[in-house]
């Protein structure tokens, strides 16, 4: 752990396709990059006991989560030859079909970004204290669990 305060990964609400597009555009000046890889987590309209999920409301233990995101980022930079990496996660209500997680890795070489992205997404799912409340069409809810 370093002394610097971890970056804030969280954004209120869904992550827009405009924001994702702009993030890609910003990398046009970084010409040592030869490959980007992007993971987008989208809220699924699961049907559970006959009721359809309309949205997920995300909360988090924000300080611990940002520290964990930071650890994952540092470990990924040690393990893989990455030029840059960006992670954004939603807080609050994200409707079915909207994006709640955006992970973006870049490297000179393609093979690296496939491995790095899978590693980072799996670590996020397992290590980061974020909690999703699945809201159904009748306003009832249940708490989601990552498999």
């Amino acid at each position: 752990m370093t002394d610097k305060k971890p970056k804030n990964v969280f954004k209120q609400g869904a992550i827009s396709s405009e924001f994702i597009g702009e993030s890609i555009a910003k990398h046009q000046t970084k010409t040592s990059i030869g490959a980007h890889n992007i993971f987008l987590g989208q809220v699924r309209a699961d049907v559970i006991d006959g009721k359809t999920v309309t949205a997920i409301e995300y909360t988090a233990y924000e300080d611990m989560a940002n520290a964990k995101f930071d650890e994952i980022r540092e470990t990924a930079f040690e393990k893989f030859e990455l030029t840059c990496m960006h992670i954004y996660h939603s807080l609050g209500v994200v409707k079915a079909g909207e994006i709640c997680l955006f992970v973006f890795v870049s490297s000179p070489k393609r093979k690296v970004v496939f491995k790095a992205l899978e590693y980072i997404v799996e670590e996020i799912k397992a290590q980061v204290p974020v909690f999703g409340k699945e809201i159904f069409e009748d306003d009832s809810h249940q708490w989601k669990k990552n498999m």
Binding site: G41, Y58, T59, A60, Y61, D63, M64, A65, A67, H89, C100, L101, V121, I124, K125, A126, Q127, V128, P129, V130, F131, G132, K133, W143, K144, K145, N146
Partner: protein, 77 residues
């Protein structure tokens, strides 16, 4: 000593609050859990982990007085 415990997700629904401070004289996380089970019997059949100073700890860990949190299963992404 006075300790502060944060609750999240399903656990915050069981305790009906997101944070509380209690005067606690036990030594281990397991002592704290017994106190909380007495106060909130429904916690016993819930799945959660305990974090101290933002790191996951076991029931045999000593309580240091730093920030404690009860965390239900993670479901980010």
């Amino acid at each position: 000593m006075i300790i502060t415990i944060k609750y999240f997700g399903l656990i915050a629904e069981v305790t009906n609050q997101s944070e509380e401070s209690i005067d606690f004289s036990g030594r281990l996380i397991s002592d704290l859990l017994n106190t909380l089970y007495a106060k909130y019997p429904d916690l016993k059949n819930k799945d959660f982990q305990v974090a101290q100073n933002q790191e996951l700890v076991s029931e045999s860990t000593e309580i240091t007085g730093q920030e404690l949190a009860l965390l239900p299963p993670f479901s980010g992404g």
